[in-house]
């Protein structure tokens, strides 16, 4: 062809321990194009990206940049060649300031020494360009995961690269940030940058992408202009099967469940400054309650407080009417609670342990007789839930770190489901999960609720809340500001409640 595409990958093979993750994958992106990369969890998206950027060595195939064959040995080389990448999990340095995380590696200097004023100024600008206005001199770990994600994006953009690769950059972002990011992507394209964009959210893909590559089981199953494919075609290509009825319609909860059912858990006026300033939630038996709010509104903190993961400075909790105070997650679990945290890597998986052990970790006390684990029952439970959630892995003995992001998430869900709790708290449960699995999980939650399980669902995806919840509690600055039920649950209502009078969002409204 006349002008070779900026990026051209041909016949890429990559296998781990003889298990193929990629087989003969092609990917080409011309300058000024946004290429969507989609596939089920474990399809090989991240692997393809890591092969491209020199994290993994490919077993076979060629990679050409600007028509010249390349073989990056390290991320550093890739960067120098003009490839900037945002990896799936936030990968920054916790103890260092936002500014340093944005600029380190190519920081401005004076007299050969780092020029901190310039560094902070630049970082402030770049984050402001993403509509993030924070004190860039604070260490990264003090900020919510979303801010961390935006920082990673700012860093990637700061390289003024010719090719920008984004692996699920939006999975931990809420509507607004997503909007900002998509604008950025458009701007990049218009300025002739090539972009590879991975996401499980079809709307986002259709909003910015020109062409799409669909992976299934490590193979390319589709490569076309996005305009030529309908969502359904994309999804069925990805799943390798036609969609079910419910998947087509997207389900909708009818009349609120468990209207009169007894209250399982009730929390009033929880305080834990600065994050929590009076958040109240109650969940009835068999009810799915959504927890909505802007980033940093205290949803996760509320969830953690309920679960006894963090001590509260004020407020009261009742379990089935009885006042309770969990001093540790252990107490909460004993009382029949489960909590799936939002940060899979830090608070979820035990990387070196096998899928089996990760899955049954919370259940252990009940799996043991006189301190000895009942391996038979353990195996039986593992098999059951692996099948039920369709976890893809080589064997239950595979270290969980080797599973794809989405499958790790499923293992964690199974960890709690197998304890068959009265109340399950899910913080961003579908973060980084493919549409197929997402659907399955949504239905699972539904099903469980019908069987009498109560669910508290934290999500940044309004759609999820609207479709899945009987009630939605809205937080702002760590305070419950609105409660919507049944028919009142609507995007507008929620958004209005979240944002209402939120001129000062960004500060903590210590009211």
């Amino acid at each position: 062809m006349a002008d070779a595409p900026l990026l051209q990958m041909r016949g890429i093979d990559k296998s781990f321990a003889g298990v193929p993750a990629l087989t003969g994958v092609d990917l080409s992106v011309p300058a000024g194009e946004v290429r969507a990369l989609i596939g089920q969890n474990g399809a090989g998206k991240s692997t393809l990206i890591k092969v491209l950027t020199g994290v993994h060595r490919r077993d076979a195939g060629q990679v050409e940049l600007d028509g010249r064959p390349v073989d990056f040995g390290s991320v550093h080389e890739a960067q120098r060649a003009g490839v900037a990448t945002i990896y799936q999990e936030v990968n920054l340095v916790p103890y260092r300031s936002l500014a340093e995380n944005v600029c380190i590696g190519r920081a401005p200097r004076r007299f050969g020494l780092l020029d901190w004023r310039a560094i902070n100024a630049e970082a402030r600008e770049r984050l402001a360009a993403l509509d993030v206005h924070v004190d860039v001199t604070r260490p990264l770990h003090e900020f919510p995961i979303a801010t961390q994600q935006m920082t990673a994006i700012a860093r990637a953009l700061s390289f003024d690269a010719r090719l920008v690769v984004m692996d699920e950059p939006t999975s931990s972002l809420a509507e607004h940030e997503v909007g900002v990011l998509l604008d950025v992507v458009r701007r990049l394209r218009d300025s002739g940058v090539a972009v590879v964009f991975v996401s499980h959210r079809l709307d986002e893909l259709y909003a910015v992408c020109d062409t799409i590559t669909v992976l299934r089981d490590g193979r390319c199953v589709a490569d076309a202009p996005l305009a030529e494919l309908s969502k359904y075609e994309v999804v069925s290509a990805m799943l390798g099967r036609a969609l079910t009825e419910s998947e087509r319609r997207g389900r909708h909860v009818g009349a609120a469940r468990a209207a009169g059912a007894p209250t399982v858990l009730e929390a009033r006026d929880l305080h834990r400054p600065p994050a929590l300033n009076g958040s109240s939630v109650s969940v009835r038996r068999g009810e799915v309650v959504g927890l909505a709010g802007l980033l940093g509104s205290g949803r996760s903190e509320t969830a953690r407080a309920l679960f006894g993961a963090d001590p509260v400075t004020g407020g009261e909790m009742r379990l089935a009417g009885e006042p309770v105070a969990f001093s540790s997650p252990r107490d909460a679990i004993r009382a029949g609670l489960g909590f799936n945290s939002e940060d899979r890597k830090a608070d979820g998986i035990v990387p070196d342990l096998s899928v089996r052990e990760n899955l049954t970790l919370a259940l252990l006390p009940r799996l043991t007789r006189r301190g000895v684990v009942d391996r038979g029952r353990q195996q039986e439970i593992v098999d059951r839930f692996v099948a039920r959630l369709g976890i893809r892995m080589a064997s239950p003995d595979q270290p969980v770190r080797e599973l794809s992001g989405g499958n790790q998430q499923k293992v964690l869900l199974a960890r709690w489901l197998c304890t068959d709790p009265r109340l399950l708290i899910l913080d961003e449960p579908t973060r980084g999960i493919d549409v197929g699995a997402k659907q399955e999980i949504a239905e699972l939650v539904d099903e469980l609720a019908d069987d009498g399980l109560s669910v508290l669902l934290v999500s940044s995806e309004l759609e999820e809340l609207i479709n899945g919840c009987d009630r939605v509690v809205v937080l702002r600055d760590g305070e419950t500001v609105r409660e919507l039920a049944g028919a009142d649950i609507s995007e507008d209502a929620i958004v209005q409640a979240m944002a209402e009078g939120s001129a000062g969002a960004g500060e903590h409204g210590d009211a």
Binding site: D59, L361, T368
Partner: protein
């Protein structure tokens, strides 16, 4: 031979890890990673069988090689527990000295052998509680936390002994060191029994799983209802108690407690033994049999060099090189 227990998982992970580098022969690298210490053992054994006179006698193997390996091996078992939590215990040598001295003094005070042993182990366990609470309650870095007793502990033992050797003769008390069960020296018996127990604990009990979870990702473990603090504390107490036991074994063998020298530098031998088994110090993994093999290998290496009349300084160099080789064989590629 090292059945690196991050449960069967890990017995598979080396391959995948090695394979992840996409090198050919990765599988062989993986084998080496798992059996490195075993290979060394076989080589050393073969060499001695050929080169060292009457090496292949029960007397030599049991009473010399294994019996001399036992103390380090037992301490290493405790060390492996601590390392599995992601920690490390530098204080074991000093704890040995304290336990030995307490045992000797109480025995001479006439409390009787059983009570003396009990008191000694109690003192050791107390040291473990001290280390454990620094790490658990105050979140002090394990190296620093145990460095404190490493420094102060020997001083305490010396204060108890006044720097003198405390000699004694009491068959019952010295049974730990000199006794025999079915002709097998007691230290060896202890080593085998304790290893068996630990192996079972790690492989089949809830404690084993929670131990590895704690070392692998404490935050996740806590959120899953694991009593991280308790699990960690137990590891430190066990390590100290085992060290104390070994303290008694050692003084039993020499029929004198020498607070200045008992356990001197043993912490490094123990850590090396764990390391040679291919267990990473980052926590979340443990290999009981591997640890035993590691301890035996290192002792056998020492004795081989001694038997050949190789001077200390050269022996040191060789040992260092061998450790690196072992690590090298067993490295987890990224």
């Amino acid at each position: 031979m090292p059945e690196t227990v991050s449960d069967p998982a890990a017995t598979r992970s080396p391959e995948s890890a090695a394979a992840a580098t996409g090198r050919r022969g990765a599988v062989w690298a993986a084998r080496a990673q798992r059996y490195g210490a075993g290979v060394l053992l076989v080589l050393l054994f073969a060499y001695n069988a050929l080169a060292t006179p009457n090496f292949l006698t029960v007397q030599t193997l049991l009473d010399v090689q294994l019996r001399q390996a036992a103390p380090v091996a037992i301490v290493a078992l405790g060390m492996a527990l601590v390392i599995a939590t992601g920690g490390i215990d530098l204080s074991v040598g000093s704890v040995m000295a304290i336990a030995g001295q307490v045992g000797a003094l109480t025995l001479l005070a006439g409390v009787g052998p059983v009570a003396a042993v009990a008191l000694a182990l109690l003192a050791a366990a107390a040291c473990g509680v001290f280390n454990g609470s620094l790490v658990v309650r105050y979140g002090v870095q394990p190296i620093v936390a145990t460095l404190i007793l490493f420094i102060a502990g020997r001083g305490i033992a010396q204060l108890l002994s006044g720097g003198r050797l405390t000699g004694f003769r009491d068959p019952a008390f010295q049974f730990l060191g000199l006794g025999r069960v079915a002709g097998v020296p007691m230290p060896v018996v202890l080593m085998v029994v304790l290893a068996a127990v630990l192996w079972f604990v790690v492989r089949y009990t809830a404690y084993g799983r929670t131990l590895l979870a704690t070392g692998g990702n404490p935050r996740a473990a806590r959120l899953s209802g694991v009593r991280v603090g308790r699990v960690t504390m137990i590891a430190y107490v066990a390590s100290a108690a085992l060290a104390g036991l070994v303290g008694l074994v050692v003084i039993g063998i020499t029929s004198a407690s020498d607070a200045n020298n008992v356990g001197l530098g043993l912490e490094l031998d123990a850590i090396a033994a764990v390391a040679v088994s291919g267990t990473p110090l980052t926590g979340g993994r443990i290999s009981v049999i591997g640890t035993l093999v590691g301890a035996v290998v290192l002792r056998l290496l020492q004795n081989t060099l001694i038997a050949q009349g190789v001077p200390r300084e050269v022996a040191q160099i060789v040992t260092g090189v061998v450790i690196v080789i072992a690590l090298f064989l067993q490295r987890r590629s990224r």
